[in-house]
Symmetry: C2
């Protein structure tokens, strides 16, 4: 489903350039449950942002279902993100003026073609799964850190995407809440064949993964495929 071919990513910094990724090669097949592990500053978010078409590589290419993402039009990229992809951002990126319900409903509205009753059913169902049924009307600034994280998770999963990119999705969650979220994700992986790529420092997430890709200083230093399903 994803091929990352010789990708580099440079950020301008005043008169310097910071190279966050150095010639990264990575293939992720449909149905995988892969984690990207590495120290702070090693390039995990940068890599996920490129796979998720939130940013473009400086060099190399990202291929999603056979299409080179940098050659897609804005319209095609938008459709790809809406229909095939769910993204749980490290800083959540919730819309502050919308309620919890409205944040999670938004991708369904943008997709179009789903009536209000079905939208309501799906939004309430996914929010119940992440333990936020009592918070539908809260705005993001009326929630705890872990509650905001779970809204971000619900929003990424409500469209039932083929690929979910999750940037440290359990960082702000206690053990019980985190395990509950991981169960939900493992269920989507096993029953619906949803592909998951996580960035994480959380050993619970690593233990569930069928594969751990280790990055260090912008390079893949280890790519272990093991059978843990």
């Amino acid at each position: 489903i994803i091929e990352v071919r010789g990708v580099t990513k440079d950020y301008p910094l005043g008169q310097l350039t910071v190279r966050a990724l150095h010639g990264v090669e990575l293939c992720v097949d449909r149905g995988e449950f892969t984690t990207i592990a590495g120290p702070s500053g090693s390039g995990k978010t940068t890599l996920l942002n490129l796979i998720g078409c939130v940013d473009v590589p400086t060099g190399g290419s990202v291929v999603f279902d056979g299409a080179v993402t940098s050659s897609l039009s804005d319209r095609e990229l938008t459709r790809l993100r809406l229909e095939k992809l769910g993204f749980i951002f490290q800083s959540f990126n919730l819309v502050q003026v919308l309620s919890v319900f409205q944040n999670v409903e938004l991708p369904l509205l943008l997709q179009g073609g789903i009536d209000v009753a079905e939208r309501k059913r799906r939004v309430e169902s996914i929010l119940d799964r992440v333990g936020l049924s009592r918070f539908l009307r809260h705005r993001p600034n009326e929630l705890s850190g872990g509650q905001r994280q779970r809204v971000a998770i619900a929003r990424a999963l409500v469209t039932k995407p083929r690929l979910v990119l999750a940037d440290e999705p359990t960082a702000n969650l206690d053990s019980v809440t985190g395990n509950s979220i991981l169960e939900l994700m493992k269920e989507l992986n096993q029953q619906d064949g949803t592909t998951f790529i996580f960035s994480t420092h959380d050993h619970r997430v690593m233990e569930l993964a069928s594969r751990i890709v280790r990055v260090q200083d912008g390079r893949v230093v280890e790519d272990g495929r093991g059978d843990k399903s």
Copy 2:
């Protein structure tokens, strides 16, 4: 150093009220290394915000070094926060238009009475300790999640406060980086007598603590003092 006396905290939510804390009683002595543990949404951030004078209780009182904080003037509160207290916020609260160096220098500037050479020495020293010597000129949006967290940590510690409140300070840090930060904090606790109160889900932090206070649904449900130093 801190007494929390029968504190309640209510948040208005439309026509309802959310009670985040119910009659919390807690004393923290000088030099303690205490963690507040609890599930997502249990009231940890709310409690730290009250202790740190970032918010006011609905009922009850917080006493800092013998002074009831809600009876202090704004000027006295500001001095207390600048001179005695360091706060590592869950969402970091960095100033986006300032560089890493400037973010960490800011509390020293606000204190006054420290010359530019001494400020430079102290800022560079603490940033070296948190592994960010090469990022002095970066702005917060040019950093990874864990790098931003470490800037928040450095900013809280640069004034050598008597009390440090840390709201999940290792959530975005990998093991090696997280352990390095915890070592720094333990050192300040043992050598300078700095009091630490952490909110956390991280077992590494809990293991280092001399005391774990468990909260659940806005109540202290367990307050264990053990000798782990």
